[in-house]
Symmetry: C2
């Protein structure tokens, strides 16, 4: 039996770090707030007597030894503790503190396991400050190159390497040090499906493909009052048209295709000067790689056309690109059966958000458990999942982890 | 006879302050660069023995006494020395240093006048850092309220009052201290008309109306991967649609209607977060007040509709609003006749840009002289007018000023 009060107290303690005035949290990856939350959570791991590991990109995992004192090939549970700039209390945090609660309650019950159990938090899952997202887990599993990731420059200036150094988050363990026997991640759904269908558990079958592009449109500054419309090369108008094109693509493809323009910057950004440069990001996602490729093709070619018509040029940079991922059918089946055994209502579903689990999927059996999100809201300070919903997700995580660990 | 080499040398000296790497200048109003340029130009005025005046908002004027040593009701010539963020060498500067060249050459020739001659530079004509534009001349002439202008907050944080204090630009003279008998402003056209028609001089008949609005669109942050398109309240999409609507209004009304979205900001401005807030500016201009009002009405109501459709709200703030201005017919006629007497090719034309002259127009006979702008380009670092074109403009300014001053 898990201790939901202990878990909720920890969630609220962690939420004090980077707390926003109106509720919610801002703990961008490798920020001072991230440093503080790493220290708090690692302290809890240590207090429980777990064996702490930290790798070169700041991923941290804590192992409870098997019945013979061994710590290799653990059943790994985890997620992340960084947030976006308008984050809630549960995105990522639930997967880390929920996993720790599983280990603590197993420990409290004096249960010994055949395989070690471990809990991890991975660096920069959100991708809000540094692109791409799922960076730490991607590096740990060899899906992303360490050197390239260390060189990634954040939206506020410093690179990942500089930010790691600034908060002293890097450890000694090399890439490849983390070798789990399987990977399990509990997470809030961050979408509306479970709530709408009145279900308690999402049995996650995989993660949709993610394509992040940054477009830089170049035109020419000009006087807003004297320059005839026909003589303009307005980078801002092109950027606005690309943003609306992204919206049109989502409408034309229909669900599950989504498209989001999250960032937009004009330069020189002055009221009476036609913009010379505009930078915007487009986030495209689809569960089907062929559809996602078609959406990208449409967007990239339309961006070219829109720029050309205005006498501007456009360049594109890939910030993140992950193909759709399918989780291990056996482990997914264990999650579904576990829910049934515990009397929970559940459905199979893909994930709309990227998750660390997708980086493990090619390397070890991996699966995820979703619990409902109120109004489907996430990356918003009002993100909410009720304690009883959380308790069910953690109980299921414990059930599947114990089965895999053997006791 | 004016000394074009002396004038060009001064223009290039001033251009060193706030010089941009690729050419052009950035001397935003009341910035440290503005302070440096004020000191340089005031120093030149002093070296010529002119009587220096500075008022509470930093407007500076320098008077050459009439033949009886009087300094009241001068024939005032002037413009501004602040620039936009991507400014050229001539916008404003020509009107100030050209006027000073007129006074110096009259002085060198030992000519005495019935009325004093004066040269002025006005604070924050550009409106790039602080809105509205033509702030200093507007305050001096009572067209804009001093207290309201001192409280105007710039795009980088400080208010006009704070910025004035930071660079010590304010003087003792109260609002109303500057009482010219007439006002003359030499300026580059900043548009393509004179060059296209092969003409040397623009006889400016008035200034088109200017309407600057700032729209703030409010929606809700949401997860870019999990939030179905139909559930979104995307402030960024609404802002992009308003920007394209402004473009559509200009196309539908046709010339001389122009529309520009110069500023655009998303918040939280993260790649995988649907924007909660978007702020953009729209600059609308027309020579006809009825048309300008119709353009505003269309834009404001469309902004409401676009926001509503997305489940967002929108608020609007007026950053500047000036009705079209008609210059004094007699003084305009004197400019036209002066050009004819000097054998210069000329046409009458309205101004597309706002100018300090429009603040004087309701209070004393006012007029402007335009010289051609290469490729019609301004508010761009490549802004260019050739020395011989400048020389003609200054000679005409001298002719009209001397006529008005009497000698
Ligand atoms: N789970 C989650 O919000 N991940 C962030 C990466 C993304 O999906 O945008
Ligand atoms: N002349 C000039 O560029 N004035 C700035 C104000 C404006 O017209 O935008």
């Amino acid at each position: 039996a898990i201790d939901i009060d202990r878990l909720m107290a920890r969630i609220f303690d962690l939420a004090k770090i980077g707390a926003l005035p109106g509720g919610g949290c801002k703990r961008l990856a490798l920020s001072p707030e991230d440093a503080e939350s790493r220290a708090l959570v690692t302290g809890w791991f240590e207090a429980r007597g777990l064996e702490i590991h930290r790798d070169v990109i700041g991923n941290t995992w804590a192992i409870r030894a098997d019945r013979n004192g061994g710590t290799t090939a653990p059943v790994l549970m985890g997620s992340h503790i960084d947030t976006v700039g308008t984050g809630g209390l549960y995105d990522g945090v639930l997967g880390v503190l929920g996993a720790f609660e599983v280990i603590e309650s197993i420990d409290d019950a004096g249960i010994e396991t055949e395989r070690p159990l471990a809990v991890a938090f991975f660096t920069n899952e959100e991708g809000a400050r540094f692109q791409p997202d799922m960076m730490g887990s991607g590096v740990a599993m060899g899906e992303l190159g360490l050197d390239e990731m260390l060189a990634s420059v954040g939206i506020d200036g410093p690179s990942v390497a500089e930010a790691l150094a600034a908060i002293g988050a890097a450890g000694d363990e090399p890439v490849g040090a983390l070798k789990p026997s399987c990977y399990l991640e509990l997470h809030i759904e961050q979408g509306p499906v479970l709530e709408a269908e009145g279900l308690e558990i999402g049995v996650v079958t995989g993660v949709q493909g993610i394509s992040w592009s940054e477009f830089t449109v170049s035109g020419a500054t000009a006087h807003a009052g004297t320059t005839p419309m026909k003589m303009r090369r307005d980078a801002g108008v092109v950027a606005a048209a690309i943003a609306l094109e992204a919206r049109a693509i989502a409408a034309s493809f229909g669900p599950p295709q989504v498209a989001t323009v999250g960032r937009m910057r004009f330069s020189p950004d002055l009221v009476n000067v036609v913009p010379e440069t505009a930078v915007l990001t487009v986030d495209l996602r689809n569960t089907d790689e062929t559809e996602l490729k078609a959406a990208e093709k449409w967007l990239f070619s339309k961006a070219e056309t829109l720029a050309k018509v205005e006498g501007c040029t456009v360049t594109r940079r890939t910030l993140a690109r992950f193909e759709p991922v399918v989780f291990d059918p056996d482990l997914v089946e264990e999650v579904a059966q576990g829910a049934a055994q515990l009397g929970m209502t559940a459905r199979r579903m893909p994930s709309g958000a990227g998750h660390d689990a997708q980086m493990f999927a090619p390397h070890c059996p991996s699966a995820m458990i979703f619990v409902p999100s109120k109004d489907g809201i996430s990356h918003n300070t009002t993100e909410f999942t009720a304690p009883d919903e959380i308790a069910r997700g953690v109980a299921l995580l414990a059930q599947v982890a114990l089965t895999r660990a053997g006791h």
